[in-house]
């Protein structure tokens, strides 16, 4: 991977509040990279540090090897799509799109031609002479994209660009954004707190919480191999079960599940003792005998194509699982005791 943006130990403090505690990540060229995390975790702050609207309190932000952390925003080849778009209300759509080119010193004819091309790309050629206030939210969003892409930045920053749109438009824009990123070949750094958005669009995702990076990986990595309880819990649905690690040898841990059954899990440098495993609900199946876990069914929730079973272990811990709603399958009644089998590799031992 050729690194485009290399963020090294970036710290950002606002007075006594620390918004970023030494965040590091290397973002590749042409990558669709997403910052995902709950509200207040520092996503916007990190983006603003990259754009240059905030001074970092420590650390480096390198763009193709050059530390840009001290540069003014207008000296960074990085453009931003703002959450509320921030289109200049007194300028036409065309002038908005051409603004960056004008500031870079491009002549009038050339920049208008280029703005025209950008507007064509986002299907807004017919709206070039309108003012931003005369456009719908989705159209404004696309103007903001065209404006930020027109000067051909090395990196495009997008702060929850889809959050102001309704569901239908949001889904259409996801596809459009992804296509734009692929055709332009520009590195996208995309901020969202919507995990579905992150999972469907991103090449890689950085999961953040309280100013720390929790995990960086592909959608598959963070869903199937969460490194800690926060990531396991934040991404998708999961069961977190307390377990005991008996021994660790050659990256494999012998783990005792609640109820006494023993399984083995992949263990990356973990000491024996109490830990948690994460088990996705769709990776548990009901078996007549010899299951890994014994549970009592409490409720069956009908979800259309799926059924959700809410069960409880003898230890009192809750466990939910999903099964396909097929006509042949036997649905256990509430109150019955059933055995559950873990799929191979379904239990992820977490580092906490």
């Amino acid at each position: 991977m050729n690194v485009s943006v290399d963020i090294r130990q970036v710290v950002k403090r606002y007075g006594t509040v620390t918004a970023l505690h030494g965040v590091s990540m290397a973002i590749g060229e042409n990558e669709f990279f997403t910052l995902l995390g709950p509200s207040g975790c520092g996503k916007t702050t990190l983006l603003r540090c990259i754009a240059g609207f905030e001074d970092v309190s420590g650390g480096e932000i390198r763009l193709h090897g050059q530390n840009i952390a001290a540069l003014e925003p207008n000296h960074r080849p990085v453009n931003t799509v703002f959450q509320q778009y921030a289109l200049f209300p007194h300028m036409t759509v065309r002038d908005n799109v051409a603004f960056g080119l004008k500031m870079k010193g491009m002549g009038l004819a050339e920049r208008n031609a280029r703005a025209g091309k950008m507007l064509e790309m986002v299907h807004l050629s017919a709206f070039a002479d309108r003012l931003p206030a005369q456009l719908s939210g989705g159209q404004q969003q696309r103007v903001a994209l065209a404006r930020a892409l027109a000067p051909e930045p090395k990196v495009l920053l997008l702060d929850e660009p889809l959050s102001a749109l309704d569901l239908k438009l949001r889904q259409a824009m996801r596809v459009e954004l992804k296509q734009l990123q692929e055709t332009t070949g520009i590195t996208f750094i995309f901020v969202t707190h919507d995990q579905e958005e992150a999972l469907t669009m991103s090449d890689r995702i950085a999961v953040m919480s309280q100013g720390h990076v929790q995990q960086i990986g592909t959608a598959r990595d963070i869903y199937e191999a969460p490194v800690n309880r926060f990531v396991a819990d934040f991404i998708g649905e999961t069961n977190l079960l307390p377990v005991t690690v008996e021994s660790v040898a050659q990256g494999v841990a012998a783990v005792t599940l609640p109820g006494g059954h023993r399984i083995t899990c992949a263990a990356a440098g973990m000491a024996p003792g109490p830990h948690h495993v994460s088990i996705r609900p769709e990776r548990l199946s009901i078996v007549p005998t010899g299951g890994d876990l014994d549970v009592v069914v409490e409720r069956v929730v009908y979800l259309g194509s799926d059924l959700q079973l809410l069960t409880r272990l003898d230890s009192g811990a809750a466990l939910h699982l999903r099964m396909q709603n097929s006509a042949r399958g036997q649905v256990p009644a509430p109150g019955t005791r059933i055995g559950l089998q873990l799929e191979e590799g379904a239990a992820r031992l977490l580092a906490d």
């Binding site: 207008n74 990085v78 703002f82 200049f88 209300p89 206030a133 404004q140």
Partner: protein, 266 residues
């Protein structure tokens, strides 16, 4: 809740309007009075308007009007420039030491009784040995015009999100370009409002001007006051009506500028 449902609201409003506007209406109507008397109606006539421009007091009024106009122009322009800079610093400057003190300082002239400012300014000028005259009026006017220009400008600026300038900076504009091409056009309605307000305030001022004007210098309000001391003639009503017309014109202009400004907001 509907304010109009309060008992007596209508009557109270009406009373206020009558007290406020009856004198203005009377003056306007009687400025067209053909009679020399200020209390009995003698038919419609433009004679007092003609008197203002050609009568015995005409040279005095003309000189005073010229002073008023030039002082108002210079004072409003200077005050608006200063107020704009101050508003940008106060609204966009983040937190800095002495910010609330600065705010108080800018707006103090609104709260201190005018007569106090008048006396203090006069004493100050004589202490530093400045002879009263055109210049001292100008300095005093610039000073008290600043808060009037500042308020609409700062109010407008507060409504403009900082992301516009950030977007401009992000798109390779320097600080100066972001100000000139983005922030200034967006705050322009506020600037114009502030300018017009400062202009009217300067044109209209009497107390402070009267203290610092020195002998022989007159502005329109002091000239009118001087005339009235010799007894009220209908020509004063004509001149007052003309000033009223200018004020109404400027206020209306300011209103429309503001309304046009609302439309350019996204």
């Amino acid at each position: 809740m509907d304010l109009r449902r309060y008992p007596g609201f209508r009557a109270m409003t009406l009373l206020c309007l009558v007290i406020l506007y009856t004198p203005l209406i009377v003056i306007t109507v009687y400025s067209f009075n053909a009679s020399t008397s200020i209390t009995t109606w003698g038919g419609f006539s433009w004679r007092w308007y003609a008197d203002v421009f050609t009568g015995p007091e005409a040279p005095r009024f003309r000189a005073a009007a010229w002073n008023s106009l030039t002082i108002a122009l210079i004072a409003a322009t200077t005050a608006t420039l200063i107020a704009t800079a101050a508003a940008v610093a106060m609204v966009r400057g983040g937190r800095f030491r002495g910010k609330s003190a600065t705010f108080t300082l800018i707006n103090l002239p609104l709260m201190v009784p005018e007569i106090v400012i008048a006396v203090a300014t006069l004493i100050f000028f004589s202490m530093i040995g400045l002879t009263t005259g055109y210049l001292t009026i100008l300095i005093a006017h610039i000073t008290f015009c600043i808060p009037f220009a500042y308020l609409p400008i700062a109010a407008r600026l507060q409504g403009i999100e900082a992301t516009y300038e950030q977007a401009a900076r992000d798109l390779y504009a320097t600080r100066a370009q972001a100000f000139r091409l983005i922030l200034l056009p967006l705050m322009m309605p506020g600037v114009i409002s502030g300018y017009l307000l400062a202009f009217i305030i300067s044109l209209d001022d009497f107390i402070i001007t009267n203290f610092v004007k020195g002998a022989g210098m007159e502005t329109l309000p002091t000239a009118i006051f001087g005339s009235v001391k010799q007894g009220i003639k209908p020509n004063i009503m004509a001149i007052s009506t003309m000033m009223l017309a200018v004020s109404v014109l400027l206020v209306t202009l300011s209103y429309f500028v503001n309304r046009a400004g609302q439309k350019t907001r996204a």
